[in-house]
């Protein structure tokens, strides 16, 4: 009885496994290719739109970056110029000071200019 039962189970197992061998191949639906090409067209246009969006976004980003770089360049140039101007002015004043000091030195002085009080005797007519 058990042997018979096992035989039945074995037969069921074999039948089930053999279903894969007996599986009839599917025929392709006549609209399969039409639907697929429709999907592909949608996909292509979607892709194209995405590329365009991506490109315009990239362009926007590039313009923004360029504007930022120009601003940074302008201000750094301005700062540099101001700094140089200050240094130049300081340099000129230093040179002038030293020259003044040199020529106002007592050793180089041709005469001592003393300021006299303005009286009737020394007034220039």
């Amino acid at each position: 009885m058990i042997k018979k039962c096992n035989k039945n189970i074995e037969a069921e197992v074999e039948n089930t496994i053999h279903l894969l061998d007996d599986l009839q191949p599917l025929e392709v639906h006549h609209q399969f290719r039409t639907l697929l090409m429709q999907k592909i067209n949608n996909e292509y246009y979607h892709e194209l739109k995405q590329v365009n969006n991506g490109f315009s976004q990239f362009l926007d980003l590039r313009i923004a970056l360029m504007a930022l770089l120009i601003i940074i360049n302008f201000f750094s140039g301005l700062l540099l110029f101001q700094n140089n101007d200050k240094q130049l002015r300081e340099g000129i004043s230093e040179v002038l000071d030293s020259r003044n000091n040199d020529y106002t030195n007592h050793a180089f002085a041709y005469y001592d200019q003393t300021t006299l009080p303005l009286t009737d005797d020394n007034r220039i007519p």
Partner: protein, 180 residues
């Protein structure tokens, strides 16, 4: 673009039957198989430029078909977890239904439908590589070399996978029929 489309059109014409039938053997459902085949060809179209000719074009396409089918089965497994809840609510999940593959009388068709369900359950318990090797070996048009190329392994490994798959499947089905 038109050149690419023309090439693609010829590819579809050449491989559509094989792709649909490959997917069908994994999912046992015509509608799902056709949807999967559509996804396969959309993927082929997208990645056609990336194809590096490391394998045959057909092997590459069938590999995509296998991957998509396995992904679909994984997705179904996840959906099945919520099946009980759906049944309680009263929504029927038609995507999980199996189409009767034979032109038989209703009783036989029902019996086969039931058997296919059991077979599918047993197959889904196998590891992916065993399942793939076994299913493809049962389909006309796939030699062991082609299966080895799809699975990126050797012919001897494929033979071993098919052998182990048969053994495991037999054991699972035997246990099932013994219990029911």
């Amino acid at each position: 673009m038109t050149q690419k489309k023309e090439l693609f059109r010829s590819l579809v014409a050449e491989h559509e039957e094989m792709v649909i039938n490959t997917c069908y053997r994994f999912v046992f459902n015509r509608q799902d198989a056709e949807d999967l085949a559509q996804d396969v060809f959309v993927e082929v179209f997208r990645s056609l430029e990336k194809f590096r000719e490391e394998s045959k074009l057909s092997t590459w396409i069938y590999r995509i078909a296998v991957t998509k089918s396995l992904d679909h089965l994984r997705r179904l497994k996840r959906i099945k977890r919520f099946g009980t809840l759906k049944r309680i609510i009263g929504i029927e999940d038609t995507s999980a239904e199996i189409a009767a593959p034979f032109n038989e009388n209703p009783a036989e068709a029902l019996a086969n439908k039931e058997r296919i369900k059991i077979l599918q359950e047993a197959l889904n318990q196998l590891p992916d590589n065993q399942k793939t090797a076994f299913i493809l070996s049962k389909q006309d048009g796939y030699g062991h070399q082609e299966i080895a190329d799809i699975l990126k392994t050797s012919v001897s490994a494929v033979e071993s996978l098919v052998h182990r798959a048969k053994k495991n499947l037999h054991a699972k089905l035997y246990t099932y029929y013994k219990q029911h």
